[in-house]
C-alpha cells in the first residue's frame, strides 16, 4: 500500500569500483565475468592473514581536483565521483537551481557507508601519535563522520530537501536507496541522489574482519577467492568503491523529458533479531523482507525474472538467502535467474547496495543477467537457477529484478526494480 501514488524512476547511474572508474566499464567487467580482486602489494599487507582485496580501478586523485580531494575521506571521494557521473547521466547540466530543470528545495541526497571515514580516523590517530597535536588535520571531523559522503554529495548538487545517512553495515547502500524512494513517494522530494560507498581497505578493518573468520584467505588465487554458492567458498573479499543512482518522481522526469532506465518499485525491510553478526540460518528474516516487499508494493513474485543476490561467499549467508528465496517465491523461483556479482566485485560493504543496484538497473536496461563466476562445485543446499560462468539474456516485456542486501546486526533490505 503506497502512501501516495507517486511512481519513482531511475534517471541516472554512476559508479567507481574495482572493475572500472564508471558505470559503463563496471558493467562491461560484470558481463565479461572479470574479477576485480587482486593481491595487496602495500608493505602493511605483508603480515596480514588476508592479503587480497578489490582495490578501486581508478584512483580518485586522478579524477578529483587536489584541493577538494585532500578535504574528503576516500569514501566521500568515491561517492562524489559516482554522484557526479549519475547527475550528469540524468541530464542535469549544473547543480540544482543552476540547472533550471530542478529546484534545490526538491532535491535530496541519501548516501550511506557501512563504516564511515575509518581510514581518516586511523590515519589521523597515527598523525597525532607520530607528529603531535598541531599536525592533526582540521578537516578530520568533517572527513570521518559517516554522513560525510551524503553531505558532500548534497553540497555538490545543492540538495535542500534533506540529506540522510542510514547505517546498517552491509545493507547501508540498499537502505539508502529504499529511503530515497520513500522520500519521493511521500512527496518530500522530486529528485534524490542515492546509493552507497565504502573505503575500508586498511590493516585494522582487514584484520578485524579476518579475526571474525568472515573473510576468504585464498591469498594465492585472488581472482578465485570470492566464490558465492561454491562448495569451497570460505568468506567474503573486502572491496572498495561507490554506486549511485538518481531517483526521480515519474512526473518530474517526464516534465523535463529525461531518459528513464527503469521504475524503482519499492523496498521490503526486516530485521533478524537473531545474532549481532551471524545470519539467521533458516532465512526467516530475509523471507520477511521479501514478504514485506510483495505485500507493501505493487509487485508480484510472478513478475520477477532476476535477483542480484547478496551472496557474499560466506558459508552460512549464501544458503540462508537461498532458503528465503525458495520460501517466499516458491515455484516462481524456477523462472528467476540469480546472480552473485560479488564473485567479481568482491564485497563493498556499505557500497554493495549501491553498485548492485546500478548493476540491476543495467541488467534490466540491457536485458542481461551478469554471471556468478568461480562456481565450480555447487553447494548441495543451493538449488535456484544460478547464472553461472557466463552472462545470460533476460526475457522481453515488463520484467522485475530484485537486489538483496543484508548487514551485520541482522538488517535485511530487498529492493525491486521494474523495466519500462
Amino acid at each position: 500500500m503506497n502512501t501516495t501514488n507517486r511512481t519513482v524512476v531511475v534517471t541516472g547511474i554512476g559508479a567507481t569500483t574495482p572493475l572500472g572508474g564508471d558505470s559503463a566499464s563496471t558493467w562491461e567487467g560484470l558481463v565479461q565475468g572479470r574479477s576485480g580482486i587482486t593481491k595487496l602489494e602495500q608493505d602493511w599487507a605483508a603480515e596480514l592473514p588476508v592479503r587480497i582485496a578489490g582495490t578501486i580501478a581508478v584512483e580518485p586523485t586522478e579524477v578529483l581536483a587536489r584541493p577538494l580531494a585532500r578535504k574528503l575521506d576516500r569514501s566521500a571521494q568515491f561517492a562524489l565521483i559516482a554522484a557526479r557521473e549519475a547527475w550528469a547521466d540524468a541530464g542535469y547540466t549544473g547543480k540544482a537551481g543552476e540547472d533550471p530543470a530542478v529546484e534545490p528545495e526538491r532535491v535530496g541526497a541519501v548516501v550511506a557507508s557501512g563504516i564511515g571515514g575509518v581510514t581518516t580516523l586511523l590515519g589521523q590517530y597515527d598523525v597525532l601519535k607520530e607528529q603531535g597535536v598541531r599536525r592533526v588535520s582540521p578537516h578530520t571531523v568533517p572527513m570521518l563522520m559517516p554522513n560525510s559522503p551524503s553531505a558532500n554529495v548534497g553540497l555538490e548538487v545543492n540538495a535542500r530537501a534533506g540529506v540522510h545517512t542510514p547505517v546498517s553495515a552491509c545493507a547501508s547502500g540498499a537502505e539508502a536507496i529504499g529511503y530515497a524512494v520513500e522520500m519521493i513517494r511521500s512527496g518530500r522530494a522530486d529528485v534524490v541522489v542515492a546509493g552507497g560507498t565504502e573505503a575500508a581497505i586498511h590493516p585494522l578493518p582487514m584484520v578485524a574482519f579476518a579475526n571474525m573468520m568472515a573473510m576468504s584467505k585464498n591469498n594465492d588465487e585472488p581472482t578465485r577467492a570470492s566464490r558465492p554458492y561454491d562448495k569451497a567458498r570460505d568468506g567474503f573479499v573486502l572491496s572498495e568503491g561507490a554506486g549511485i543512482v538518481i531517483l526521480e518522481s515519474a512526473e518530474h522526469a517526464a516534465r523535463r523529458g529525461a531518459q528513464i532506465y527503469c521504475e524503482a518499485v519499492g523496498q521490503g525491510l526486516s530485521a533478524d533479531a537473531h545474532h549481532i553478526a551471524q545470519p539467521e540460518p533458516t532465512g526467516r528474516g530475509v523471507a520477511a523482507a521479501l514478504e514485506h516487499l510483495f505485500a507493501e508494493n505493487d509487485v508480484k513474485p510472478a513478475e520477477v525474472v532476476h535477483v542480484n543476490a547478496h551472496a557474499t561467499s560466506t558459508p552460512q549467508g549464501d544458503v540462508a538467502e537461498v532458503k528465503a528465496l525458495r520460501r517466499v517465491l516458491g515455484d516462481d523461483l524456477g523462472h528467476i535467474m540469480v546472480s552473485g556479482t560479488k564473485s567479481m566485485t568482491g564485497h563493498l560493504l556499505g557500497g554493495a547496495g549501491g553498485i548492485e543496484t546500478v548493476a540491476t538497473v543495467l541488467a534490466l536496461k540491457n536485458r542481461v543477467a551478469p554471471p556468478t563466476i568461480n562456481l565450480e562445485n555447487l553447494d548441495d543446499e543451493i538449488e535456484p537457477d544460478l547464472v553461472s560462468g557466463e552472462a545470460r539474456p533476460l526475457p522481453e516485456g515488463r520484467i522485475v529484478a530484485l537486489n538483496n542486501s543484508f548487514g551485520f546486526g541482522g538488517h535485511n533490505v530487498v529492493l525491486a526494480l521494474r523495466s519500462v
Partner: protein, 82 residues
C-alpha cells in the same frame, strides 16, 4: 636566517596553492584568504600550521583571526620569526 618579505609572500603562495589550489601568481599581499583565495576557516588552520613550520614561527590561535590577508600574515611572520 630570517626570511624576507618577498620570501614569505612566495612561501605563503606555495602553501595556499597546495591547500586551496589557487595559482601561486594569484596570491598577493592584498588578497583576503577567505574572500579571494578559497581558504575557509578550517583550511586557514592548515595554512597557519604550514607557515609555522616553514618560517619557524609560532602563531597562537588568538592571533589567527587577525590574519585576514596575505599581507597581514606576512607582516605577522616578519615581526615574530626568530
Amino acid at each position: 636566517m630570517a626570511a624576507t618579505q618577498e620570501e614569505i609572500v612566495a612561501g605563503l603562495a606555495e602553501i595556499v596553492n597546495e591547500i586551496a589550489g589557487i595559482p601561486v601568481e594569484d596570491v598577493a599581499t592584498d588578497k583576503s584568504f577567505t574572500d579571494d583565495l578559497d581558504v575557509d576557516s578550517l583550511s586557514m588552520v592548515e595554512v597557519v600550521v604550514a607557515a609555522e613550520e616553514r618560517f619557524d614561527v609560532k602563531i597562537p590561535d588568538d592571533d589567527v583571526k587577525n590574519l585576514k590577508t596575505v599581507g597581514d600574515a606576512t607582516d605577522y611572520i616578519l615581526k615574530h620569526q626568530d
